[in-house]
Symmetry: C2
Subunit: 311 residues, 2 copies
């Protein structure tokens, strides 16, 4: 089976926001979670007045592959159980790494869809789960620094908290280094996430496209030639066809100054699309990285180097 041409992104229903006293589920769909970072995650959510339920995958280790948090079956079961339990108001991926694509097909998506919209947050490898939720459930999700990430500082936490407690609120996303690469103004639903994962979804049921949308792109730990290959694959697979605007995040530990810079590469590969584009909007893999919801209406103002969601 090959993925058919993916539908253009649309604005998706926004789940109800969290309230103090709600229960949030901490799950690990991808990599294993160090104990200290798990504690950090629980403490942050507890400080927000939430009850945190730590699912087994968060403390599990795969018996063979140390890059996985428990077996595929456990990671899928935890995600599904958290989503389908009526007493849980938000499902939070503790961290990324790799592994979401191994567990997606083990989830009973009919059961997840039947349980209705719910808040979901994560980033990096979790980009695949965002796409699965958009395609199979039709719900907006939250692309955010994860609470068991070393980048989860006060700024990142405040941004995630706002997105979880007031998901439909109007907010402007703009980090301290945001600047315009291609001027102009674009509006559309937000889509995208981690570049490597977007490319890794090509050909699969999570293949998406950015037609009419404001696309988010960021990555971590990729050589310049690898970024080139990922961008080229997305370009040649039609991912960017009809994109309205592009918001770039951080490119942490990416590139090789001797080979060329990431900014040069992106301008060379994506500049010809001729759409508004902002450099280093403020999300990605770094301390203080901001939250951006996916599947919500947004305006990218490249002149002001800002993104406003739920305008």
């Amino acid at each position: 089976m090959t993925a058919a041409t993916p539908p253009a992104p649309t604005v998706l229903p926004i789940p109800r926001g969290l309230r103090p006293g709600d229960t949030a589920a901490l799950v690990a769909p991808s990599g294993p979670v160090p104990e200290q970072l798990r504690t950090q995650a629980v403490e942050a959510f507890t400080a927000w007045g939430l009850t945190v339920e730590v699912f087994d995958s968060v403390t599990a280790r795969h018996p063979r592959y140390r890059y996985l948090a428990g077996t595929d079956e456990l990671r899928a079961a935890d995600f599904q159980a958290a989503w389908t339990r009526p007493d849980i108001a938000a499902v939070i991926a503790a961290r990324g790494g790799y592994g979401a694509q191994r567990m997606i097909d083990l989830v009973d998506w009919d059961a997840v869809r039947a349980a209705g919209p719910k808040l979901f947050a994560g980033s990096s490898d979790i980009t695949a789960l965002h796409a699965a939720l958009a395609h199979r459930v039709g719900v907006s999700t939250v692309f955010a620094t994860m609470p068991a990430s070393t980048h989860f500082d006060d700024t990142a936490a405040d941004s995630l908290r706002a997105a979880l407690f007031d998901p439909a609120g109007t907010r402007t996303v703009q980090g301290p280094n945001a600047r315009s690469l291609v001027e102009g103004r674009a509006s559309g639903p937000t889509v995208g996430g981690n570049l490597c994962l977007l490319a890794a979804c090509a050909g699969t049921p999570e293949q998406q496209c950015a037609a009419g949308a404001v696309a988010l792109l960021e990555d971590v730990g990729e050589d310049l030639y690898r970024l080139d290959r990922l961008l080229t694959q997305l370009l040649r697979s039609g991912w960017f066809d009809g994109v309205a605007g592009i918001a770039l995040g951080s490119w942490t530990a990416c590139g090789d100054p001797a080979a060329g810079t990431v900014e040069e590469l992106i301008v060379e590969r994506l500049g010809p699309l001729g759409v508004p584009m902002v450099w280093d909007l403020g999300f990605g893999h770094h301390r203080g990285a901001l939250t951006v919801p996916l599947g919500v209406p947004a305006v990218l103002d490249a002149d002001a180097a800002s993104l406003t969601v739920n305008p």
Copy 2:
């Protein structure tokens, strides 16, 4: 545009073999070629009684990205000119690296197709060009250690020479470490190549599948979790649906023993397909790596751990 479901691989026409006195074109569709390795390539082909024409891309450098051999336009023009010149009997990629996917769309494929079948050899990043030639021209090609590779020793050279001078000949491919992973016997056209490139072709016009075919897979320099992601993408994109058998090459500088072994990973991911599978058949990224033609009829005898082409 998204690639439609790719057609099942078929046996493709085999171009006429080389004869002493023929001219071979040396081109660089991907990365830059060190001068010393260029000399090695020219000397090897000259020793076979061929005239070698070194195209400009082989000596060029991209003005910005040091991982590319000249501009995309030059690399595409060289490939096209070499293919369409009647006095050239074989087009040989000097080395891989990265970049074939940047130049494919700049080739006039109608002109290439009109020029008719011609021998083409390369591997690694050149996997994308093999797929383009199979899809757009319909010609069998030669997956081989490239002459400007550090792995091009006497064994590799002899194997390439046989494939170029007698492309329709019956030959058995079996390196010294080949052994059965899943027993049995499979027959079908050969398809595949470098795992990373096969995944990087997903969603693009070079997306392929291995239905009914004997699939070749090898890679170099990928962490275990990356190999997992690549295999998972191919599995979930349908690449392996209906595959007849799998011939694995080398996994040079791949994996991380502490995370698990490449062999374990491959058995876990591909074993459930239940088709004959051979470990370390003898092709890939290493000295002495053997040539395997693509798009030719083949029999994979996993009991004997060998692949016979043009049986």
